[in-house]
Symmetry: C2
Subunit: 312 residues, 2 copies
């Protein structure tokens, strides 16, 4: 039995997870990220005890605790090297956590943990797996031969920060033209707003007014209703995502490519054009092709992945 903890900017989520990656019991608590990290870590430990209790398991039955944390992680040292979301610099997270619960602790970057969770959930032990999550940013993870790929310094797999437009839009990371600057939900919202200004008669304006502002849903929902301007925004946005997917397929030729984030619930509306673009632009013409699928676990991916990474 394992405990997986997903440390997010808004909530800490923890789950009791069995050997097969199934969540048996879970709880969450607000992160209150402005607090000092020591208080946050203390709450993570409290939550871990709570899910063990809730699942009717003693801490001594837990083999290890896995944590998915934002930022650059030194996995070997159990240290958060740097995170700007929840402010941490050189924090010995495992050591602090172990003052409360004396169990083996494994820390992964949160996107890597989510990738590992989706890898587990796909039920295939494929030799190469790429996960891309579309949210405020574009995150991701790469699993090779069943292992999280971290790069030599633990900072690898930042697939959202490979550019798709040389000298393009400035990304929050400081680089220009990053996939994240075009294919994140934040980028979609900007693209939607831009189009709404140009097309004041578009349904999107009315929709946004009625739904408390522009969101990642605006263009997709209005496109579903047949609004032309919305269709344009949606289809152009999907092509940005597809470019990122296609690039990573030519680099990795993974057996499975999973796309996550709330927007992936759109299913084939999102995925079919991506599959078509990736197939047309795949350098590999003669060998089996990468399968492209939507995520299965969504919010639970971090818990499952953190727990399973701790298990392995």
């Amino acid at each position: 039995m394992y405990i997986g903890i997903d440390l997010g900017g808004t909530n800490i989520a923890a789950g009791l997870v069995d050997e097969n990656g199934k969540i048996l019991y879970s709880e969450s608590a607000p992160t209150l990220k402005e607090r000092h990290y020591t208080e946050i870590i203390a709450d993570m430990a409290k939550l871990a005890k709570k899910v063990a209790d809730g699942g009717g398991v003693r801490l001594s039955d837990i083999k290890a605790v896995g944590i998915g944390s934002p930022g650059t992680i030194d996995n070997a040292e159990g240290r958060v090297v740097y995170s700007n979301n929840i402010v941490m610099h050189n924090v010995p997270m495992a050591e602090i956590f172990q003052k409360y619960i004396d169990l083996p602790v494994n820390i992964e970057n949160d996107a890597n943990a989510a990738a590992y969770g989706e890898y587990y959930a796909c039920g295939e032990k494929c030799p190469s797996f790429v996960f891309m999550t579309l949210g405020t940013g574009v995150g991701g993870g790469i699993i090779i031969d069943g292992k999280i790929y971290r790069g030599f310094n633990g900072a690898g797999a930042e697939i959202g920060h490979a550019s798709i437009v040389h000298n393009g839009k400035l990304c929050t990371c400081g680089k220009r033209g990053c996939l994240e600057a075009y294919a994140s939900v934040s980028a979609l919202i900007s693209q939607t707003k831009e189009k709404m200004k140009k097309c004041p008669d578009s349904l999107m304006n009315k929709y946004a007014e009625e739904n408390g502002g522009v969101s990642g849903k605006t263009a997709f929902d209005c496109a579903d209703s047949g609004d032309n301007a919305a269709v344009e925004v949606r289809d152009k946005y999907i092509m940005y995502v597809a470019e990122g997917v296609s690039n990573l397929i030519n680099i990795f030729q993974p057996e499975l490519f999973v796309i996550g984030g709330g927007i992936s619930r759109r299913g084939d509306v999102l995925l079919d054009p991506i599959r078509k673009y990736a197939a047309a632009n795949d350098f590999n013409k003669y060998m089996p092709k990468t399968k492209i699928r939507a995520a299965k676990l969504f919010g639970d991916a971090g818990i499952v992945g953190a727990a399973m990474a701790a298990a392995n």
Copy 2:
């Protein structure tokens, strides 16, 4: 002792290679690529015998033969799935070769073999290594934990076919905006010609006339002589290469990034601006940084890499 064979579009090069990746004796012969592949493979075997003889070694002292071949390779089957440079489709290359020389044969894609050779030559057993070679195309290879990364289908590591310009220039592969369409030497030649037309007074026009036409050297040599138009071409070209390097660093965070191809002999003129761009655009701000270096083996990388891949 091993034999490494580098099957190129112009020449077949073979070498007797020791356990440490040192070439003891080498020979080459024209590929005459319009011939049927069976004749080419027969010549590869002849050349292998020749280098064993030349190195004073019996075939029975050779542990394995490694071949680097263009195209998509099925490594497990020893088969060239597809190559359009030397026309081969589903060719059981290992099996045919073994009719002449009955030794274990390992076949790799030529760029992967070259990458492995450079990995060996760097003398460090770094956990992650990326090689990019600038030639007619942009090829490359990825070595993770000492193993050539091939993707699940053997067609991976086509780093030249990740785009850096969404909807950009059409690449020979059919995709638009590929790194290869901007950062290959062929692309540099196009960029040089374009500038020469716009700037008839540029030294590049005179230089090309005196040197039998435009080549990858035109812009670099004329820039060395202080020609402004040439400096512009060179510097813009280097930024395309740098974009590709920077993207791969954010994805892989490799310990070592090696750039090959004849142009990498320019050394720091090429590498310093790339290092500067990659550092400025590295998502990793707090952990050790990727080292960027020029290739060491050049033409020998394929032989050494093929032999060492066969050894391991």
